[in-house]
Amino acid sequence: MRNSTKLMILAAMAIVFILLYGFYDIKGGFDYAFPKRMLRVTAMIITGIAIAYSTVVFQTITHNRILTPSVMGLDSMYQVVQTLIYFFAGSMSVWVLNKYLNFGAAILAMVIFALILYRFLFRADKHPIYFLLLIGMIIGTLLGSFVTFLQVLIDPVEYLSLQSRLFATFTNVKAELLFISIGILALAFLYGYLIMGKLDVMSLGRENAMNLGINYDGMVMRILILSSVLIATSTALVGPITFFGLIVANLSYQYLVTYKHSIHILGASLISIIALVGGNFLVEHIFELRTTLSVIINFVGGIYFIYLLLKESRAAG
C-alpha cells in the first residue's frame, strides 16, 4: 500500500471519530451540547497535532526513538512554573489572571529548561540511552517532589485553584487559550514547512548533515525551541499526557515506511487525533466515564514503552 493511501485511511478514520464524537447520542439541547463538544474536539485535535509534531522532531534531533520531550521531564516544568507562580504571586496576581502572561511565562520556562537539558545531556558526550532515561526519570521525580513541597506550603484554597490548572482535562478546556494555541500551531507549521527538507537531512546524523551544508547545531537549537513551544501549548491546554507522543510517533514510523518528516508528522498527527477523539468517545459513551483517557493512555503507553525498550536493547546488543 502506498503512503498516500495509508494517510487517506488515517484521515478518514479521524473524520469518522470526529463526527461520531460530535453527533453521537446527542440528546436534549443540540444548541447547548454541540458547541461544547466541538470546543472539546478542537482542543483534542490541537493537542494531538502539537504532541505528535513535537515528538517527531524531538526524536530526530536526539536520534532516538524512545526519548520524548515529556519523558525528559519537559512537561513537569509546566507544573513547576504554575506552582511557583501560585507560591510567590498567588491566585489573584496578574500572572494568573492574565492568561496570556501565564501562558507566555510557562512557554519561556520550558524552552529555557529544554535548552539547558540539551546542553548538558546531548552536547557534551554521547551517553547511552539508559543513562538518559535515568536522568529523565530523576529530573521528573525531582521536579515532582519540589512541586509537592511547595504545594504543601500553599494556602489550601489557593491549592485548589492551582490543582484545577495542573490537572486540566478535555472536559475543562480553556476556550481563550484555544485561539492562541491555534495561532501557535499555525506558526509552527509555517516554520515546519520551511525546514522539512533540513529535518530529513538531519536524520542522517550530525556529521552527514553538516557535510550536506546544514548548520546542524543552530538547527538543533531552533527545533528544540519549536518542540518545547508545542509541548507547552498542549500541556497548558489539557495537562500532561506522558506516553502519548511516544506511541503515536512510533506507530507512524512502523506504519508509514519513509524517511520523510512531512509524511511522519502528518501520519503521527492523524494517529493522535484518532487516539484522542476515539479514546474520549469510548471513555464518555462506552465506559460511561468510569475511567479516564489518561489512565488508558498511560497503561497502553507504558506497555508499548517497555516493548520499545526491549526491542532497542536487542538491536543495540
Binding site: R65, M196, G197, D200, N208, M210, N211, L212, N215, V257
Partner: protein, 255 residues
C-alpha cells in the same frame, strides 16, 4: 586550494593536533597516514568544519572555512566519516539522493537524478539501488555512502578511512574509482588510510602525522622510504618494488 595553517586542537588538556601546516594540492590524491592516535581524523574533521580548531585556520580559496556559507561550502567540500550508523531506514538510492541536497534542497531535478544515477553506476550499486541499507553487507553500505559523496559533486572529497570493513576486491575498486575521480574529473581527494600500501600505490602525495604533529609532507616517492617510515612508525619497514609499485613488507618486521 585548501591551506591548513598552524592548526591546533586539544581535547581536555591533551593536544590531539598540534600546529599543523599543510597545503592540499588540487587535482591529487593526498593520503594522511600515521600511527593510531596521530590526529589524522581530527585534522580531517577540522578541514571539513565538523570540528572547530582551537587555533590556526583552514583556508579554501583564500577564505577561512568558517566564513563560508554552509550551503556553498557543501558544494565545494564533502566529507565522509568512518562510523555511519543510521537511525532511519533508507534505500541505497534514497541515501545517494541526499548527496544532491546542497543543490536540490530536497526537490530533485532531472539533472540531480542524473548525478545520482552516475554515482550509483560509479560505485557498482545499480543492481541494489532499491535495497534498504540494513539489508546490505558492511562493504556494500560503505560503497553506498561513498556514492552519496560522489553525487554531491564537490571539488574536494575528504574520506576518513573509507576502506574499513572492505575486502581486498572492494578496497581496490574504491581506490581505483578515487583515482578516476582525480584523473578524469579533476577532483581533489584527501583520504585517511591505515594500509600504507594503498597509500603508496594510489596517492600522489602523503602527509604523515605522529602524536598530533606533522612529520612529513611530500610526494609519495619521498615518503615511502624505509628511513622516513621508521621515523613515523618506529619500526623497520623494508620496501620492495613490484611492477613499478613500492610495497612495504612490514608483516614480519622487528618492532
Amino acid at each position: 586550494m585548501i591551506e591548513i595553517k598552524g592548526l591546533t586542537k586539544q581535547f581536555g588538556k591533551k593536544p590531539v593536533v598540534e600546529d599543523v601546516t599543510v597545503t592540499i594540492e588540487p587535482g591529487t590524491i593526498t593520503s594522511f597516514i600515521g600511527p593510531n592516535g596521530a590526529g589524522k581524523s581530527t585534522l580531517l574533521s577540522m578541514v571539513s568544519r565538523l570540528l572547530e580548531a582551537d587555533t590556526g585556520e583552514v583556508l579554501l580559496d583564500q577564505n577561512n572555512v568558517k566564513k563560508w556559507k554552509s550551503s556553498d561550502f557543501a558544494k565545494r567540500v564533502s566529507i565522509l566519516k568512518q562510523a555511519n550508523y543510521l537511525n532511519v531506514r533508507l534505500t541505497v538510492r534514497e541515501l545517494v539522493s541526499f548527496g544532491r541536497y546542497p543543490y536540490s534542497k530536497g526537490r530533485l531535478s532531472a539533472a540531480d537524478e542524473k548525478f545520482v544515477d552516475q554515482a550509483i553506476e560509479y560505485m557498482n550499486l545499480a543492481d541494489m539501488e532499491t535495497k534498504y541499507l540494513d539489508e546490505l553487507s558492511g562493504g556494500q553500505k560503505q560503497r553506498a555512502f561513498i556514492a552519496m559523496v560522489i553525487a554531491q559533486d564537490t571539488d574536494y572529497i575528504l574520506l576518513d578511512e573509507p576502506l574499513n570493513n572492505l575486502d581486498m576486491k572492494h578496497s581496490v575498486q574504491i581506490m581505483k574509482i578515487l583515482r578516476k575521480l582525480v584523473d578524469e574529473l579533476g577532483k581533489t581527494v584527501v583520504i585517511v588510510l591505515h594500509d600504507i600500501n594503498f597509500a603508496s600505490v594510489y596517492s600522489d602525495r602523503i602527509v604523515a602525522l605522529k602524536n598530533g604533529r606533522l612529520m612529513k609532507n611530500g610526494p609519495t616517492s619521498e615518503i615511502i622510504n624505509s628511513d622516513v617510515l621508521r621515523e613515523i612508525y618506529d619500526m623497520d619497514i623494508p620496501i620492495q618494488e613490484q611492477n613499478g609499485c613500492r610495497i612495504c613488507v612490514y608483516f614480519n618486521s622487528h618492532t
